[in-house]
Symmetry: C2
Subunit: 341 residues, 2 copies
Amino acid sequence: MSPFLDTFKGIKSYSPPIWFMRQAGRYLPEYLDVRKRCKGFLDLCYSPELAAEITLQPLKRFPLDAAIIFSDILVVPHALGQKVSFEEGIGPKLTPISLHSFEDHLTVKNFFKNAAPVYQAIHLTKSKLAPSKALIGFAGAPWTLALYMIEGEGSRDFAKAKRQAFENEKAFTSLLDYLSEVISLHLIEQVKAGVQTLQLFDTWAGLCPATHFEKWITSPTRKIVSNLTEAFPSLPIIGFPKGIGANLGEYVSQTKVSGLSLDTTIPLSWAIKNLPSSLILQGNLDPILLVSGGESLKKSILSIHEDMQGRPYIFNLGHGILPQTPPSHVEECVQIVKGQR
Amino acid sequence: MSPFLDTFKGIKSYSPPIWFMRQAGRYLPEYLDVRKRCKGFLDLCYSPELAAEITLQPLKRFPLDAAIIFSDILVVPHALGQKVSFEEGIGPKLTPISLHSFEDHLTVKNFFKNAAPVYQAIHLTKSKLAPSKALIGFAGAPWTLALYMIEGEGSRDFAKAKRQAFENEKAFTSLLDYLSEVISLHLIEQVKAGVQTLQLFDTWAGLCPATHFEKWITSPTRKIVSNLTEAFPSLPIIGFPKGIGANLGEYVSQTKVSGLSLDTTIPLSWAIKNLPSSLILQGNLDPILLVSGGESLKKSILSIHEDMQGRPYIFNLGHGILPQTPPSHVEECVQIVKGQR
């Protein structure tokens, strides 16, 4: 009934199901209109009606196969009591936590009350979504969240956070454990509210040194997958560990995700050869090709098609849609993927 | 006679030869002292005496096995006539070239006159360097240089440059070809002036989509390796394509580099299993461990040691030394690697 969910049952459709990371966002003028109605970005995430409206916007324009709930990975630290704000054109700002006393400053006590609007937004979206369209829930993976929580902002190398992690390995592992549990609960609530599949964003996985990969990336992620699978045995869970090329085999075998979102660097032929055939691959068009459009876009889409033929997969980008993307190029891409152009 | 060069002949020493990317730089107070004597950063690169002095500074402090000539990858576009400057705390600024008319604005005519001080610095350094220490020359790889030349500055995703590349694939390929030839000539001059080995820095290789990897990364790099090997058949050439994990096998087989510098994400066990045994591996301690020092640093060094035992390799970081690194941690690292601590 849903091409997206069918893919995880091994059912291949005529064309692959398609959605885009950040498909609801700043490249859409109708998003910017709604954005104006809220002062803070987090207010938007916590307004069920507006979040639902934004979630559905791209599906009104394009024949996509899935909606991803409009929210943010930093809802988790925020609902735990950390101060989080988003500054226009700068990005997120958090009051950094200390590894030695994070449990004094974070509390699960009000988490579900704080995050309730997210679940309400999911419930509302689901009621308006055609049954053939899948609804995707998500969270940031523990490593990526921990980096933001300690660093206090985005960064090219998260040197401050990583330094603290190296200097206090035990406390850092406790934080990852703590986050694994909270993220699990947050995702379980999302499924109860109506999402049919989950994606775990480990955007900064590529900043984790190989020596700490199992401890800091796969072990915390494994806990989440395990908790979710225990609660919902047939739930598809897609991992997106960005920038870890050579470790993808270990990631898949250790975390037991059912799907893997590939970044733009991964050759699909390599993924097919080196990863289990039961794994559902998702990806991996360069988001900048959606900005440029034209012949290069078409050639790259057809090259992905060709590499993946004979295998059920999900078409997506290798990272999120960029704000400068013309919506007409997104339309073009969907049409090419669906063989209508 | 030189443990570094011996490694490329398959000779294993008691402890691996060691050097650090950016070993001559801002973390050293004596570097900052010399830096003050020049207004512009490029003036420093073009002052043979000062560049030689800086190159040798880390070897006066630490028993390193190689010196890398103090220079910058942007010397190449600058010597071709592009405007390049370095702004304190901001990074490089270039007057962006246009893909349609780059040959009108760049010229090889004055290249060797412009770049001559680099070769003089090499000559001078070599005359002061103990014969047991190897002297390394380097250049940026065509892809990484082209991104800077088009974008005009550093960037997280080089969206502007990549967009131009996708929209003008033919012109972009011409630029890469052009750069491959110029870089080859620049490296040949470095060898003539006294360097005994070369490293090709492809810092932004991880921004190249898999679909264009052969065209934009390995093919231009192959040309350089081929030109150099023709001129100097036994010259060791180390490639450093950062962020391309899953493509390393292709990189090595297509470019024919003799050494590979691994970024921090690459598990050494994976590299040993998946890459040719004749390839000399270099790496890959996380530079942030050199900032934090202590137990984590020691454990990670010993873990690299253990993974690589029985194999000739070169100890290095997975990226450059960070400015906030305490020199005492560098000393500690060298002592641990050399089994003196």
